[in-house]
Symmetry: C2
Subunit: 197 residues, 2 copies
């Protein structure tokens, strides 16, 4: 994930580590502050793999040493690969998707829609799971467990709706029609919930 962020920034202009950490925090609205303990080793790794290289810069003798890196053609390929990489279940994916979104401009509209859709499908699964958990906790959970589930459920629902808006916006802008299977999908569990609660 950090590789994606670094490459995405270097795609715009060469930078050094410290600058990368600030830019990353800014692009993500402060939702992710990269640790130096991740950043510098990752830069090394990317350099080792030929995805970035140091700019031979004029650092000779001058001021404070700065190791400026730039992306290589190999790095460009890696960047696109990471951007489309299949999601990997779990809460790590939430952060990953945010980083992806920050660099969505580098993808063609069809791919963007595909990724948004894939993400939405994942959230719908989580929503169903949370709905089941909410119903289960209604019986034997305590007050805070119920609050936890219901809040998670509401937040996930909001995320799904948000993605729907982004998809719609993308489609109208590029005149792409929705696939036939795409009508207002309601999960079995959701329907049950709406009926019983």
């Amino acid at each position: 994930m950090l590789e994606l962020g670094i490459l995405g920034l270097l795609k715009e202009q060469p930078m050094h580590g410290y600058q990368l950490s600030r830019e990353l925090a800014e692009q993500l609205g402060g939702m992710w502050k990269v640790s130096y303990g991740s950043l510098y080793p990752t830069l090394r790794r990317l350099e080792r793999d030929g995805a970035v290289e140091q700019v031979p810069g004029d650092t000779a003798g001058k001021g404070r040493r700065k190791l400026v890196y730039r992306i290589t053609p190999e790095g460009e390929r890696l960047f696109l690969r990471l951007l489309e990489e299949p999601p990997q279940e779990g809460q790590a994916e939430d952060a990953r998707f945010r980083v992806r979104l920050a660099f969505f401009r580098y993808l063609p509209p069809e791919t963007r829609i595909r990724l948004l859709d894939r993400r939405r499908a994942g959230l719908r699964e989580r929503f169903d799971q949370l709905t089941a958990a909410t119903l289960a906790a209604a019986d034997d959970g305590d007050e805070y467990q119920r609050a936890l589930m219901e809040h998670g459920r509401a937040a996930t629902e909001a995320d799904i709706a948000w993605l729907g808006g982004l998809i719609q916006q993308e489609r109208t802008k590029y005149g792409i029609t929705a696939p036939v299977g795409e009508r207002r999908r309601a999960s079995a569990t959701l329907r049950r919930k709406e009926r019983t609660v």
Copy 2:
């Protein structure tokens, strides 16, 4: 965090590792699926530190081996310490707080309110930061960066309101009056946002 979850479950009844992983996923509504690569080493660590111990159980010769653990008095103390531990900035705290909530019933109402309040203060800081980032992105960010900020901002706002509800509920239930400083707090950045947008 995993330590907290394990101890919280063992507080109710002795369990073995596999059972812990299922229970944890269930109590958190599937929002957190514990990896075995974390679980078993953590159990070992807790045992080494004297926070849990194996139940000498009747596993002798019988069926499939199960290593059943129970919490010790030392573990009980650790549990309460972890439950109140100061938050540590960053997205890891989101998950931590969820785990804490799942075991909030073990805390007295005043402490619960204090922790909820502390969490809300942290989210308000993030909200201010996101508001600033939103304004900055309105100028030079692309479409998706703006969407990212605004969504993060909305989600954080919803979380803050949710916490407010929980605090209110706790106060009315136990008849605790709100401190004097506690009126509808609006941050400087929020007020600016409301005026200009």
